[in-house]
């Protein structure tokens, strides 16, 4: 059973359509990469998948026991302010917010989860440091650790490498690849398609409507890919 099924979804901002006629599905273990030019509606789709935005038409269904609040999310731009006083540990911990119900503290299971994710992303030694004093790449890792605390099934990443230098970017992609190999389903928005073609199992190419949805092998042969990738990619 598919994790997420979108049928004929359309999205708009105050009746100005942004995306329409969108149908695709994501199965457990998939690595879906959403590509498209700036302003083509990628972030809007991500928000709709997270129920942060109402859909104007069609339907988005969750299957395979996936609950709405079980999605780990790495936003394109954090709502968090740059000068917010918070320790790395506090930020990562807040990823478990959906698991503690009405308890006023984080129980042992969640504290362990936080600890594991801090270590996994190499943040253990930084856990007492202030989030606002970290570099861009470190902050992005903290937010990824937070997203991992929120889910063990599905991770939604909106341009995780934006603003990072090439080396850190490659580390980020390698890390996401590792997560996918562990069985976590990945949906990632990226305009740096060259780097992720090798990792992604599926591609969704948007230009206010879907230009392509399918397996990566088929994508590189398609017309949409030829135009988008230009001469840079020779399949």
């Amino acid at each position: 059973m598919a994790l997420i099924t979108c049928e004929n979804v359309s999205l708009s901002y105050e009746s100005v359509p942004v995306l329409s006629g969108l149908s695709f599905c994501v199965n457990p273990g998939d690595y879906l990469c959403i590509v498209g030019e700036n302003g083509s509606g990628k972030s809007t789709l991500v928000k709709a998948l997270l129920s942060l935005k109402h859909i104007a038409g069609g339907s988005i269904r969750f299957g395979d026991g996936l609950r709405k609040n079980e999605i780990g999310y790495l936003p394109q731009q954090t709502g968090a302010q740059q000068d917010f006083p918070a320790s790395v540990q506090e930020v990562v911990q807040s990823g478990c917010i959906n698991q503690i119900g009405l308890r006023p503290f984080y129980p042992a299971a969640q504290r362990l989860r936080v600890q594991q994710n801090l270590k996994r992303l190499g943040l253990w030694d930084l856990r007492k440091r202030s989030f606002r004093q970290l570099s861009g790449g470190q902050q992005q890792r903290v937010l990824l650790a937070r997203a991992l605390c929120a889910t063990s099934k599905l991770l939604l990443l909106d341009e995780p490498a934006a603003g990072l230098d090439p080396k850190i970017t490659q580390e980020m992609y390698a890390f996401v690849r590792g997560l996918n190999q562990e069985g976590i389903t990945i949906i990632m928005v990226s305009h740096d398609i060259q780097s992720v073609l090798a990792d992604a199992s599926h591609i969704l190419h948007l230009q206010h409507r879907p230009l392509f949805f399918g397996k990566t092998e088929e994508y590189v042969k398609s017309d949409a890919a030829k135009r988008f990738l230009g001469g840079a990619f020779h399949a």
Partner: protein, 281 residues
């Protein structure tokens, strides 16, 4: 020194003012951390002006001040929250409109009813004589509610303050917590307003949080420091006001200014000290 203190609290009205003031300072500083970080400081300011208008009108029509002010300010809190959440530029201007409008209505109401400038002065800058036995009971009840709710929802308050979008995406009812924060702020402001003055009460919300953020790097430390700082500054302010016969509200705000400067200087010195060893290495 001790003599002064003993002498001070032999006056029951001073004792009442101290109890109400300490509790209101505590609540205001806890809520203030979230308000400042969410860039909602304007709400606190707007609410105090609406509170002034409500108090003045209540006095003019000989109604019980709190019975009028509490519902009006709570309603204003919902409205101001909606306005500041709307991304439109007009939201900001509308808040300014509401607070100055309420101020004007309050002044009109006072001048029509008594024409006494003393009332206006007391409402704007606070009066230490204003606290009754009922206010003491009400502020104990309110601060108990604020403290319990704050501790109960602490993880959510952090999450909602730090990143609303992420919290929404993981199923936290962000709107609900925003309303809760605005509601508790409204009650705190109404209660503290007559003591601190409606022009000065919002400083109790803003100063301790800003001061603590100068020095502390984690949310928990900022919250704890704000709470302690707010109480200490209030007590020092009250003492100064007694010693120099200055208005209590203004004295407390001055104590807060001094604390801010102190923390600021401390953070500068600390930065220097941290940079030095790195340059040598």
């Amino acid at each position: 020194m001790l003599n002064v203190l003993i002498q001070m609290f032999s006056y029951p009205f001073l004792l009442r003012a101290m109890i109400v003031g300490v509790l209101v300072s505590l609540c205001a500083s806890l809520l203030g951390v979230s308000l400042v970080l969410k860039r909602y400081s304007m709400i606190g300011d707007g609410l105090s002006h609406v509170g002034f208008g409500a108090l003045a009108v209540a006095t003019a029509v000989h109604a019980a001040p709190l019975a009028v002010a509490i519902p009006v300010v709570v309603a204003a809190a919902f409205l101001l929250l909606r306005l500041s959440e709307s991304s439109k530029v007009k939201g900001d201007a509308a808040i300014a409109l509401i607070s100055t409008g309420a101020l004007a209505i309050g002044v009109m109401a006072i001048s029509f009813s008594t024409g006494a400038n003393m009332d206006v002065y007391n409402y704007m800058f606070g009066s230490i004589l204003a606290m009754s036995q009922g206010d003491v009971r009400l502020s104990i009840a309110l601060s108990a509610v604020v403290l319990v709710l704050y501790m109960l929802f602490y993880p959510k308050i952090f999450a909602v303050t730090f990143d609303e979008t992420f919290s929404l995406a993981t199923g936290v009812r962000v709107g609900w917590y925003n309303v809760l924060i605005a509601l508790l702020t409204a009650l705190t402001i109404v209660l503290g307003m007559r003591l601190m003055g409606s022009l000065l009460i919002s400083s109790l919300v803003i100063f301790p949080a800003l001061t603590s953020m100068r020095v502390f790097q984690s949310f928990r430390c900022v919250v704890i420091s704000s709470a302690c700082l707010s109480i200490v500054c209030f007590l020092i302010g009250l003492l100064l006001s007694y010693a120099w016969s200055t208005p209590a509200g203004a004295s407390v705000v001055c104590a807060n200014i001094a604390a801010y400067l102190l923390f600021w200087a401390f953070s500068l010195v600390r930065q220097r000290l941290r940079r030095k060893p790195m340059e040598n290495a």
